[in-house]
């Protein structure tokens, strides 16, 4: 089940670029949301 691309035989396509792209696809908006959250959360200590 754990067919990690890093251990794929040479004849199989390298999935690492696709993995990087897809994690960036979901990670970038999540990072934006977390940034906004941290900005707001600091108000508990400064507000």
């Amino acid at each position: 089940m754990s067919d990690d691309s890093s251990q794929s035989p040479p004849d199989l396509p390298d999935r690492r670029p696709l993995i990087a792209f897809t994690w960036l696809w979901v990670g970038a908006p999540l990072a934006y949301g977390l940034y906004e959250l941290v900005r707001k959360a600091t108000q508990l200590f400064t507000g």
């Binding site: 999935r15 696809w25 979901v26 108000q43 508990l44």
Partner: protein
């Protein structure tokens, strides 16, 4: 549409982003409040009316998850994600039309009814697939996806607010914002539809497929077991306790410290709410992953037992120490998130992977119940206490005692969970030898 089977060399690390693209989108539902004030002023709605699209959406989430789970299992995750994409985006597009022509009912129908079906089907769409790809770490895998549902609101809240600021808060500005939401979420969720794959079935030496490993129980069969209903109680009690704080977080912290030398400002209360959201999200991935190490039953002992202790600390010493109040509330909210994220793996331990998505969908009715129960308890009691002339932390004391009681009920229900009896198993695996105690074959952690 037949389930898309992974080609050789496909990485299982491509499946969580597929799940996240759906859950980060549908998690927008919890940021609906951003649209409430503009809708109220543009269409002349009351607060109750502007809340209706969200409330109907949550009701439809529960109903479609409960009744659509078997279809999701039959047609696979790509079908489910496609349905979720079409419904969720169409809901926004219908709402855009409704706002443009100033027809409130179209917004209710679009966002609430059509979009709500997208919420329910989308929520359960990746669960079964993730568990099958990560049999060694099911808690972590479903934790990532369900964390996304919490993360969706974090993204949508500032994003939607900025959009309304740019487009304006009149009906045409709201319509344009809905339109952009519908199109953007369709593109974003498309990644999940294109990316999701089910693992290839293990092959026997003669080329046939191997039967599913371990205990397997159908969704219909699961509902006939006491285990299903015990977990229903566990989830309902844990969620009720979390919502009890989450729903009234801002007024609660303000009331608690109103009579002290360090009162909490409105801005600081908003910061507290944001911090609770962070704890909720962190709990989803953190505690759910921990359950892979210490077992599902043990992690729920922590959620329910330590959760009750946290409530007791708030009730006894909460108004004398702000850090203690904040810390206890954060822990309770992390358990709230953890409870949501760990339940699919608990179901997998007990009922197997055969129809775990459908079983999960049916169990989510506990969430709908808790969504009504939690706010009802806290608000009703706070109102009665206020009428009796009480103020500050005294408004919430009775609610906290009730929450402790509910958590104890959940704790007892968790203790009563035992492996599922063999008579409920589906006959996919070879029958055990006569005299074998099948219940002993299940994981200890269940």
């Amino acid at each position: 549409m037949s389930p898309p089977v992974a080609p050789p060399g496909w990485s299982r690390w491509l499946v969580p982003p597929a799940a996240l693209s759906v859950h980060l989108s549908i998690g927008q539902a919890y940021a609906w409040s951003v649209f409430k004030p503009p809708l109220e002023s543009a269409l002349g709605l009351s607060g109750t009316q502007s809340a209706l699209p969200f409330q109907l959406g949550i009701v439809m989430l529960g109903l479609s998850a409960a009744f659509g789970g078997t279809l999701v299992e039959r047609h696979g995750p790509r079908w489910a994600m496609t349905v979720a994409l079409v419904c969720f985006s169409s809901g926004f597009l219908l709402s855009a039309l409704g706002a443009a022509v100033e027809q409130y009912w179209l917004i209710v129908l679009g966002y609430g009814f059509v979009g709500g079906v997208g919420l329910g089907i989308g929520y359960i769409s990746p669960v079964s697939t993730l568990i099958k790809w990560f049999p060694d770490r099911p808690g972590m895998a479903t934790g990532i996806a369900i964390m996304g549902f919490g993360g969706g609101a974090l993204i949508a809240s500032p994003w939607s607010a900025q959009m309304l600021e740019s487009f304006g808060t009149d009906s045409s500005g709201i319509a344009l914002a809905f339109l952009v939401h519908g199109v953007t979420y369709a593109v974003f969720m498309l990644l999940g539809v294109l990316l999701v794959r089910v693992p290839r079935p293990k092959e026997r030496a003669d080329g046939g497929a191997v039967a599913l490993d371990g205990v397997q129980v159908s969704a219909r069969g699961a509902m006939r077991t006491p285990q299903f209903w015990l977990l229903w109680v566990v989830l309902c009690m844990n969620v009720t306790a979390g919502i009890g704080i989450l729903e009234k977080a801002a007024p609660m912290i303000t009331d608690f410290f109103a009579d002290t030398s360090t009162p909490v400002s409105v801005t600081a209360a908003a910061g507290f709410v944001a911090l609770l959201s962070a704890a909720n999200m962190a709990g989803r991935i953190g505690w759910s992953s921990t359950s892979d190490l210490i077992g599902r039953k043990n992690i729920y002992r922590v959620y329910l037992g330590v959760g009750a202790l946290m409530y007791a600390l708030i009730a006894l010493f909460g108004d004398s120490s702000k850090p203690l109040f904040v810390l206890c509330a954060l822990v309770v909210l992390s358990f709230y998130g953890g409870g949501f994220a760990t339940i699919p793996a608990y179901l997998k331990d007990l009922f197997g992977t055969y129809q775990v998505g459908a079983i999960h969908g049916r169990l989510l009715t506990a969430w709908s119940t808790a969504g009504v129960l939690g706010p009802l308890i806290v608000n009703w009691i706070a109102d009665r206490q206020e009428e009796a002339g009480r103020h500050g932390s005294a408004l919430y004391g009775t609610s906290f005692v009730i929450m402790i009681g509910l958590l104890v009920v959940g704790f007892v229900a968790n203790e009563l969970v035992r492996p599922v009896h063999a008579r409920h198993h589906v006959p996919t695996a070879p029958a055990p030898k006569e005299g074998t105690d099948v219940r002993r074959q299940q994981p200890e952690s269940a």
